[in-house]
Symmetry: C2
Subunit: 304 residues, 2 copies
Amino acid sequence: MKYAIIGTGAIGGYYGGRLAQAGCDVDFLFHTEYEHVKRNGLRVDSVEGNFVVNPISAYRSTLDMPQADVILVALKSTANSLLPNMLQPILKPTSLVILIQNGLGLEAKLSEALPQTSIAGGMAFICSSRVAPGHINHADYGALNVGFFAHDNYDVLHAVQNDFERAKVQFTIAPDLNEARWRKLVWNIPYNGLTVALNTSTDKLMRQADSRKLVADLMEEVINGAAACGARIEHAFIDKMLSMTDIMTPYSPSMKLDFDNHRPLEIEAIYSNPVAAARKAGYEMRKTEMLEQLLKFISYKDDV
Amino acid sequence: MKYAIIGTGAIGGYYGGRLAQAGCDVDFLFHTEYEHVKRNGLRVDSVEGNFVVNPISAYRSTLDMPQADVILVALKSTANSLLPNMLQPILKPTSLVILIQNGLGLEAKLSEALPQTSIAGGMAFICSSRVAPGHINHADYGALNVGFFAHDNYDVLHAVQNDFERAKVQFTIAPDLNEARWRKLVWNIPYNGLTVALNTSTDKLMRQADSRKLVADLMEEVINGAAACGARIEHAFIDKMLSMTDIMTPYSPSMKLDFDNHRPLEIEAIYSNPVAAARKAGYEMRKTEMLEQLLKFISYKDDV
């Protein structure tokens, strides 16, 4: 089974590296780091053991890549408008595309462009970051949760699960992608946006009474939005997420890292799409929408 | 008729100065600027003519001040917990206290402490700022709108109106203080908080589509909150306020000036009190409450 990694950053590099390390056949797409990894390989410093993928099957464009059975997309979702064209050259009729990205509505959009393709969504629970060209640091966690969006093919997905388990990555299959996506938003919506809008960290948000209440308010909106969209999340999940964050090491969510590094923010996938989906289903996520509005202003300010 | 100005800053200094200039009997309370104004007087540079009040009837404490018929309070509302004690020495049974301050619920709170006192609220439509000790710059506008909260005494208020008109200040009487307070919040709630939370200016908020929409959303919440609290504000008032702000010179609202100068923010009066009043009347001002929560976090961050 041939894997293709589209977007070899902190997430794609880690999972793809693990698969290659376990003996899977993996092709990696690189952008600016191509020359570097061709010479030095892909280095992964991990709490679960360091390794280097060298030599590496690296490519600069999907036009040069072989077709793949399983395509892991780990680009920032801000680049997703390019996906249909990027994927076309490596797609077979039987290929499975897994979007390992944050937010809502990404699979639906891709599926509109590629209506025949088997598409799944992946939620990564991992702390990893790209520390230098071709060099990833994996600090904590690592589980991947995957659920189908279109053209379910559990034979392929179980084979993928097998490979990940051989590669020592915890891999679970989500029976309901919509619910899994919303569940992840319960954490992502408050912490990603508020750390950017207030230029702060998760621990400081938790320490002050009003921001802590705001975090809980936003989580409640996400749960209500999810319910409107047919995804049941138990109310106790809020306290679980708050407690988990209380005991987490102070941490910069991905959007805060993007903001600090002047990269585009994933506002569309994490905010606009859930707000629009809930509205369509009859529920107004007022505070979430306000966070979306603040973030759009902030990213606009950063532009000009 | 004897006037006392409690809080001789940009607003109290301007109105008190105009009254003194017109020959009224005005006592001024100063804090740190006392020595300076005793020596140099109070200087007002105004678009409607410069003047200096010198000599000036200045005091350092209300304990030394004569009793007054009309007391204009122009302190920041963050100091209002001190008001009952400060006012006691200069109050007569017939005194009228006018709170020229921003926000909601300030008259009610003072009236609880001084249940026998005639209390009114004043809304200043003025651009003035304190540029140096004992030196005020009045850049634009200047109208004062005053309405009764408790123990209405229109004989005194009409005499006050007379004095202000002699002093060349436009003075109107608000038939419904509650409505006038809410009406002013339609502008104050979006612009004061958002210029602080987003560290920006009114013109930039108006220029970007999402922040402009957020301003309008907040205005709509204020109008709905007002309605719940028995104050009818026509929906067209939103467009009127937006258009007015479009043509205004770029401007820092009072809360932005307070923030930039590390002074306490009037969060309670402008945000917490309206949100609580609307909630009590059955309406949730969700985005306004979120702005309150953000501002409290920001002012907490500024503290530590």
